[in-house]
């Protein structure tokens, strides 16, 4: 029961008690007064009548007329004239009136005792008899009844008015409480509102001020912790002056690419500035630093435009890039574009800076980092034999025929047309081994070979088909969810590309589909990569406003790979984070990495956000992640992606 209801109840109770008490008092007093008046009137009438009768004691007819005259006034219930020997001489008696104006129960519960008044009638000195007069009580009851009704109406009015008054007063008084309630709710939803209106009531004012203080404190605590964690990550994985990944960071990302549950397909580039030492001697340290910084910025800009590409600085003059691409032809195109861009800007001939690129195309399962690096390195040595701004793509005996870009386009459109896309499910388990979530992956078949999304997705992006592909996947997943009975609480998450978030047509379709499948919608979650958040955040806000009413959740994956501060956690209604595989791997051996994961889990849990980790391969890493209170894990250690969700850990 709300405070207001309790107060209202109390007020009603008080008013009713007061009313009953006052009504009883009034009625008792009125009844008493009526009784006295009736009796006094009876006595007066009896005295007057007997006096009159005594004067005409010798004329009986006159006597009876006198009695009639009094009786016919209508105030008396009965008048009786009795001889001294007890014989009744004359009696007038009123029958109960047909039209009683008051309810019968009134007479039963509030009896008005009309005492008959008896006086002597004299005949000279002698007693002739007695006259007995009783008042008629009907009029008194009628008055009493009117009184009760008036009182009832008056108190009813008072009750209604006082209740309304109390409601209004309490609403006004307790408004700050509601505001505080709202504030508290907002905090649980990760917002930090400050109450502007400070109430004047002392206790309420203190409470509101304390709440405001707490909100401010929480906000700054959050910011501090997020900043600290952010700094830690930067120090561990990035190269100090340039802000690119350092050798360790790059190798770890690279390793994740190889060990990811999806197949990979991309090109690894090693870029070396040949005569950096000489440049340093000639131009000075400042110029060298500027050059490196400019180059880093340019590389970063360039890779940011490619899906899931990344760049690192492995040592002073050595840069490395990984660009997902679908085949050697596309890889060569990329490299040529890069060389053209660099040679016309920062590494132009004017700077007299030689650079070479050695590259290796990687798309085989079983690729490992060391061999990839040594092959790229070999290609780099070859490139150095040629002139500046040249590159060599490592030749291996993968001589199979590759489709061209236009063939790819036809192929992908075909897939869309026939919806020839197969879903794969990758399950995350909690510590008890219960399935918590399945991530939806996809694959297509090309020339009787299965190609996973990891490999064909760069082509999808290149041909601007990602929104269509996402739409197809979402539709299939919704269909799957309505058809198949998955265990309760098992949520199905679909990766959403940045292009899909920006696509208004897709959003309209999506709302329609969610409308049609409300039950499935509640099990659906969308995931966006952390690295993409910065560019799509405003659109994502809008996107979420539309789909949140259906109970669709939002997750962020590849957490740790983006360069964003954690501030987005506060701005977006995120349900879970999926830590990138590069953090899970070898976690047991890397203390700083462990610290990063721990503080991230702490921040997220403070905000009521779940943390999942991907890419778990060893029991030791899993143990570390459980200790850091990560809610669920996935990876080869738990099971591979499968056409139907796997509900038991491997």
């Amino acid at each position: 029961m709300s405070l207001r209801q309790q107060f209202s109840l109390l007020t009603s109770f008080l008013v009713i008690v007061l009313f009953i008490g006052s009504l009883l008092l009034t009625i008792t007093n009125a009844r008493h007064a009526f009784e006295e008046q009736l009796n006094a009137r009876a006595y007066d009438a009896s005295s007057a009548l007997s006096l009159a009768l005594s004067q005409v004691s010798d004329d009986e007819t006159l006597q009876l007329r006198l009695i009639d005259a009094l009786y016919d006034r209508g105030f008396f219930a009965s008048i009786e004239f009795q001889k001294v020997n007890g014989q009744s001489l004359y009696k007038r008696n009123m029958d109960a009136l047909a039209a009683e104006q008051s309810p019968l129960w009134l007479a039963r519960f509030l009896p008005i005792a009309a005492m008959p008044a008896q006086t002597d009638v004299m005949q000279g000195w002698q007693r002739m008899g007695t006259v007995t007069v009783s008042s008629y009580t009907g009029i008194a009851y009628q008055d009493l009844w009117t009184l009760i009704r008036t009182e009832l109406m008056w108190y009813g009015l008072v009750l209604v008015l006082s209740l309304l008054g109390v409601q209004w007063l309490l609403r006004w008084l307790l408004r700050p409480l509601q505001e505080v309630e709202k504030q508290a709710k907002a905090i649980t939803e990760r917002q930090w509102p400050i109450q502007e209106h400070i109430p004047r009531t002392r206790e309420l004012r203190h409470m509101v001020l304390a709440m405001n203080q707490m909100v401010q404190r929480l906000r700054s605590l959050f910011s501090e912790q997020a900043a600290l964690t952010e700094k830690l990550r930067l120090e561990t994985f990035t190269d100090n002056p340039t802000g690119l990944l350092n050798r360790r960071g790059f190798d770890q990302r690279m390793d994740t690419v190889f060990k990811d549950v999806q197949e990979h397909s991309g090109v690894l580039l090693l870029l070396q500035l040949h005569n950096l030492a000489q440049f340093n001697q000639e131009q000075g340290r400042q110029a060298t630093d500027d050059l490196i910084a400019t180059l880093a910025r340019q590389l970063q800009l360039w890779t940011a435009s490619l899906h899931q590409a990344f760049v690192g600085r492995r040592s002073g003059a050595d840069f490395a890039l990984y660009l997902p691409c679908v085949g050697r032809v596309q890889a060569m195109n990329y490299i040529q574009t890069l060389i053209d861009e660099l040679a016309t800007s920062v590494l132009s001939a004017r700077n007299r800076m030689d650079f070479h690129i050695g590259a290796v195309f990687l798309h085989q399962e079983g690729d490992v980092l060391s061999s990839a690096l040594s092959r790229a390195d070999a290609a780099l040595r070859q490139a150095q034999q040629q002139g500046s701004a040249s590159f060599v793509l490592y030749q291996d005996d993968q001589g199979s025929k590759e489709p061209t870009a236009s063939e790819w386009r036809a192929l992908l459109l075909n897939v869309l047309h026939y919806e020839a896309l197969q879903l794969l499910f990758h399950t995350s388990f909690d510590q008890q081994g219960q399935p918590i979530q399945v991530e939806v992956l996809s694959r297509i078949t090309l020339d009787e070979k299965i190609i996973s999304a990891g490999r064909f997705w760069p082509m999808v992006e290149q041909h601007h088909l990602s929104a269509q592909f996402d739409a197809l996947i979402i539709r299939k997943v919704l269909h799957y969810l309505t058809e198949v009975d998955l265990p309760k609480n098992l949520c199905c998450c679909v990766n959403l590309s940045a292009a899909s978030v920006l696509d208004q047509t897709l959003l309209r379709q999506l709302v329609q589909w969610l409308d049609d499948a409300p039950e499935a919608a509640k099990r659906l979650a969308f995931e966006v990569p952390e690295a993409a958040l910065a560019s799509i955040e405003p659109s994502l806000q809008h996107f979420l406003e539309e789909i949140r009413p259906y109970g669709v959740r939002l997750g962020v994956d590849q957490v740790g790979t983006g360069s964003m501060a954690f501030a987005y956690l506060r701005r977006l209604p995120i349900s879970y984070l999926r830590i990138d595989g590069s953090f899970s791997r070898n976690l047991a051996q890397a203390q700083d990495q462990r610290f990063f994961v721990q503080s991230m889990v702490q921040i997220a849990n403070n905000l009521d956000i779940d943390v999942l980790a991907d890419g778990v391969e060893q029991e030791a890493d899993a143990d570390e992640l459980w200790q850091a209170h990560v809610q669920a894990l996935s990876g080869y250690y738990y099971g591979r992606p499968a056409p139907t969700p796997c509900l038991q850990p491997h």
Partner: protein, 237 residues
């Protein structure tokens, strides 16, 4: 005997009167008091009045009140005719007839027997009241006594007498202060009866009883006013 009956009745009333504790206690107390009085001589006039008369009006007044006090045990066991005769004679002798206007400087004032005796004066009503009070306390039934308004023909003025009805339909005896003896009403051609009332009807008892309890005589009639004043003196009717 009267006191013992009244005591028992009052105790009984105390048991019945559940709704008013004060009243019940009062009744009980009175009943007990009555019983104790009965144990000794019949005491109607409290000793306090004797002291009061001495203090306020001197020894003559005290002597009159003392004689009045002594009247009750004296006539306690006499027959009704003796009681009527002695009481009538006593008050006719002890109270001087004075008009209200002269004695009380009021148009009409019903004095208590104590006032009439101690001030040594009263008019016809005061005689009637004193006689009625005494006879009731000596055990004469209330139904036999009537207070009667009469007209004195010779004096041509309003007068009041106490009438005694041996039976309901009998010609009454008249106790009057104009003549010394008690005469039958049909012998009193000098008086014309006007109206008589029963001072003790059931209804009246109840109404006046409440008046006494409420202690507010102002809005009630002379009779009630009188009863309240008598009650205060310890002379309940």
């Amino acid at each position: 005997m009267l006191y013992s009956v009244a005591g028992i009745v009052l105790v009984f009333m105390a048991l019945l009167a559940k709704k008013n504790t004060l009243f019940a206690l009062g009744c009980f107390g009175l009943g007990l008091f009555g019983y104790l009085v009965q144990a000794s001589a019949l005491k109607v006039v409290p000793d306090a009045l004797v002291q009061q008369a001495l203090r306020d009006f001197g020894e003559g007044a005290q002597a009159r009140v003392q004689r009045w006090q002594a009247l009750f045990p004296q006539l306690q066991d006499a027959d009704e005719a003796t009681k009527l005769k002695e009481v009538n004679a006593f008050f006719n002798a002890e109270i001087r007839f004075v008009s209200d206007l002269r004695h009380w400087r009021k148009d009409d004032y019903w004095a208590t027997p104590y006032e009439a005796l101690s001030t040594h004066g009263g008019d016809c009503e005061d005689f009637v009241i004193a006689k009625y009070h005494a006879l009731r306390h000596l055990g004469v039934g209330g139904d036999k006594l009537r207070i009667t308004y009469v007209k004195a023909i010779r004096l041509n003025e309003a007068h009041m007498v106490l009438t005694y009805f041996p039976t309901k339909d009998a010609v009454p005896l008249v106790l009057d202060n104009l003549i010394g003896i008690i005469a039958s009403a049909d012998k009193r051609s000098d008086l014309v009866p006007v109206y008589s009332f029963n001072a003790e009807g059931m209804w009246l008892e109840r109404m006046k009883g409440e008046g006494v309890r409420m202690g507010n005589p102002n809005k009630l009639d002379l009779w009630t006013d009188l009863r309240v004043r008598m009650h205060k003196l310890g002379l309940d009717l």
